[in-house]
C-alpha cells in the first residue's frame, strides 16, 4: 500500500515540478546562455556575458534599475504617509461612511485597471506629467493604496486599543500614546505593507507602459522591449533580477502572506 502511495506521490511531484518550475528554469538558463541554437536541449555555450552586459558601463539596465528603485521608494513613503492615518482611523475611530470608503479603496482590485491607466495617461498628458517620473509614481501610488490602506487597517485592528486608552487614562496625550505605544506595536504590519507596496511598484508594467512611455524606462518596461525584440538573454536577465526580490521578501513575509495582497503584483 505504501509503495503505491509513494509512486503516486512521485508522479505528482514530477508533473507539478515540471509544470511549475519548467518555465522559470527556462528563463534562468536563458539568462546564462551565450549561445543556444535549436535543437540542443541545453545552451552550446554558458556564461555570464549577458549578466556582465547588464551591469556594464553602457548598460540601460542599471539606469532602469535606478529609476525603478527611486519610484518604488517614493511610492512606499507616500503610501505609508497617507495610509497610517487612514488605517488608524478606519480601524479605531467611528469614521462615517466607513464601509463605503473601504469599498472605494478595494475598487482598483475589483475592476480591470487598464482603462483607468489609459484615461489617466490622457489626463496626465494635459497636465504635462505624462512621460515623467512624477506621472509614473502617481500611477503606482494609486494601485498601491489598495494594499497599504487595507494592510495598515488590519494591523491597527490587531493592536489592542486598551493599551493606548490605559496610557491616556494615566495622563498621556492621545498623540503621544499613539507614537509611543500603538505605532511601535504596529511596525511589523507596516513593514509588511511597505514591502507589498515596494514589490508592486517594482513589478508594475501596464501603468508605466502607458504613462511613462517613451521616456520613463523602468526594469519591467525594458524587459518587455527586450522580450518583444527576441533579445531573449537580456530579457531573461532582467526577469531573474525582478523575480529575486519577490522570492526573498515573500519568504521573509510568510506570516503576512494574505493571498489577496500578493495577487495583483506586477499586472
Amino acid at each position: 500500500m505504501w509503495r503505491r502511495g509513494m509512486i503516486t506521490r512521485l508522479i505528482v511531484l514530477v508533473v507539478v515540478g515540471f509544470v511549475v518550475i519548467g518555465p522559470l528554469v527556462g528563463t534562468v538558463i536563458w539568462s546564462f546562455a551565450v549561445k543556444w541554437y535549436w535543437p540542443n536541449p541545453l545552451p552550446q555555450e554558458l556564461g555570464l556575458k549577458y549578466w556582465a552586459n547588464a551591469f556594464g558601463k553602457r548598460s540601460q539596465v542599471l539606469g532602469a534599475l535606478g529609476v525603478s528603485m527611486a519610484i518604488a521608494l517614493i511610492v512606499v513613503a507616500a503610501a505609508l504617509l497617507v495610509s497610517i492615518p487612514a488605517g488608524y482611523a478606519l480601524a479605531r475611530l467611528n469614521v462615517p461612511w466607513k464601509k463605503a470608503m473601504l469599498v472605494l479603496f478595494l475598487m482598483p482590485q475589483a475592476f480591470p485597471q487598464l482603462p483607468v491607466f489609459i484615461t489617466m495617461s490622457s489626463i496626465f498628458y494635459r497636465l504635462n506629467i505624462a512621460g515623467t517620473v512624477v506621472g509614473v509614481t502617481l500611477a503606482h501610488l494609486v494601485v498601491s493604496l489598495v494594499y497599504s490602506v487595507w494592510i495598515t487597517t488590519a494591523t491597527f485592528k490587531s493592536v489592542p486599543a486598551i493599551l493606548e486608552d490605559a496610557a491616556v487614562n494615566l495622563g498621556c496625550t492621545r498623540l503621544k500614546a499613539f507614537f509611543t505605544i500603538t505605532l511601535p506595536l504596529a511596525i511589523p504590519g507596516l513593514i509588511a505593507s511597505a514591502i507589498f507596496v515596494f514589490l508592486n511598484s517594482l513589478d508594475e508594467f501596464t501603468g508605466t507602459f502607458f504613462i511613462g512611455s517613451p521616456y520613463v524606462r523602468t526594469l519591467p518596461v525594458l524587459m518587455y522591449t527586450a522580450s518583444m525584440g527576441y533579445n531573449m538573454q537580456a530579457a531573461s536577465v532582467i526577469a531573474v533580477m525582478l523575480t529575486i526580490p519577490s522570492l526573498v521578501f515573500m519568504a521573509v513575509l510568510e506570516k503576512f502572506l494574505k493571498a489577496e495582497y500578493i495577487h495583483g503584483l506586477g499586472v
Binding site: P23, G26, P41, V116, L247
Partner: protein
C-alpha cells in the same frame, strides 16, 4: 471609540459615543481618499464619459464601432477567460483538497511559486518555454526523439496555459485556507459512513467554503480579463484579448472613444463579480 475614557463615563454614554460618527476622524482618512478620488475615481468616471463622446457628439457611436470591429475579440476574451477559469477551478480544488487530507510540505511550497512571479515575467517565461523551438520542446525532443513539435506559444493554448499557471496558486491558497478551517470531525463522520475523499471534497468542503471559493474565482477572473502583459507576449496576432485592443486603439489609432468603450465593456463583463467581491470583503472585515 478611541477617545473613550472609561472612568469618566457610564456604559450607556460609551455606547452613545461609539454610535456617533466621528467627523473629525474624516480628516485622517482625507489624504488617502483624496489621492484615490483624483487618481482613480476621476479617470474611472472620465473613461466612462469619454466612451460616450464621439465625433457625432454624445451617444453610443463608440460602442457600435467597438462591437462591429471587435465582437470576435470580445467572444474570444470571454471564452479564453472562462476556459482558464474552469481549469483554475479544477486544478486548485484538486490540490487544495489533496493537501487538506495529506500533509505534504514539499507540494505545499511548490504550488505557491507562481504567486510571486509578476504577470509580465510569466508572459516572458511562457514565451521562452512554449515557443515552437522553446525550452519545453527542446526537452521533449531530447526525450522522445521527435524533432519538429508544434509550439504552444502565440495562440490560445499559450494564453490559457499562462493564465492557469499564474492564477491557480492564488485560488489554491485561498481554498486551502477555507478547507483547513473546517473541522476534522465533520469529515470523519462522513468518512465513517463510507464517504470517499473525493466525495468529501465535493459535497462537504466545497459547499461550506463556497464564499471563499467565489472570492478566489472573482479575483482570478478579473485579473485574467484585465491583464495586458501576458496577451502582448504570448497571444496570437489575431484574435487578441480585449486589453490588447484597448492598448492598440490608443497607441496606433489615437482613438480614445473606442478604447474607453472597450474599457467600459470590460467593466460590464466583471461587474456582477466585482459587486460580490466588494460586498463580501466589507462583510468579512466586520465593518
Amino acid at each position: 471609540m478611541a477617545g473613550a475614557h472609561p472612568q469618566a463615563q457610564t456604559e450607556d454614554q460609551l455606547v452613545v459615543r461609539q454610535d456617533r460618527p466621528n467627523y473629525a476622524a474624516l480628516l485622517l482618512v482625507l489624504p488617502a481618499l483624496a489621492l484615490l478620488a483624483v487618481l482613480y475615481l476621476y479617470p474611472l468616471v472620465s473613461s466612462i464619459w469619454m466612451s460616450l463622446v464621439s465625433g457625432e457628439g454624445l451617444g453610443l457611436a463608440n460602442y457600435r464601432k467597438a462591437f462591429s470591429l471587435y465582437w470576435v475579440d470580445m467572444v474570444y476574451t470571454v471564452a479564453i477567460a472562462i476556459l482558464s477559469q474552469v481549469l483554475v477551478f479544477v486544478t486548485s480544488v484538486s490540490i487544495a483538497g489533496y493537501l487538506r487530507f495529506e500533509k505534504w510540505p514539499l507540494l505545499n511550497l511548490l504550488y505557491r511559486l507562481p504567486l510571486f512571479i509578476p504577470f509580465l515575467i510569466v508572459g516572458h517565461s511562457m514565451r521562452v518555454f512554449l515557443a515552437p523551438h522553446g525550452v519545453m520542446n527542446m526537452m521533449i525532443s531530447r526525450v522522445t526523439g521527435i524533432r519538429e513539435l508544434p509550439g504552444l506559444a502565440f495562440g490560445w493554448e499559450g494564453l490559457v496555459i499562462s493564465y492557469v499557471w499564474k492564477q491557480f496558486p492564488l485560488a489554491t491558497l485561498l481554498m486551502l485556507g477555507a478547507f483547513e478551517s473546517i473541522s476534522d470531525s465533520m469529515i470523519e463522520a462522513a468518512q465513517n459512513l463510507g464517504c470517499s475523499r473525493t466525495r468529501a471534497i465535493l459535497s462537504i468542503l466545497l459547499p461550506i467554503s463556497s464564499p471563499t471559493v467565489m472570492v478566489a474565482m472573482v479575483l482570478t477572473f478579473v485579473s485574467t480579463i484585465g491583464c495586458l502583459s501576458i496577451p502582448l507576449l504570448v497571444g496570437a496576432a489575431k484574435p487578441v484579448m480585449l486589453p490588447v485592443d484597448m492598448s492598440f486603439r490608443v497607441t496606433y489609432f489615437n482613438d480614445w472613444g473606442v478604447a474607453n468603450a472597450l474599457g467600459v465593456i470590460s467593466y460590464l463583463i466583471v461587474v456582477a463579480l466585482a459587486y460580490y467581491y466588494l460586498t463580501h470583503m466589507t462583510r468579512e472585515e466586520g465593518v
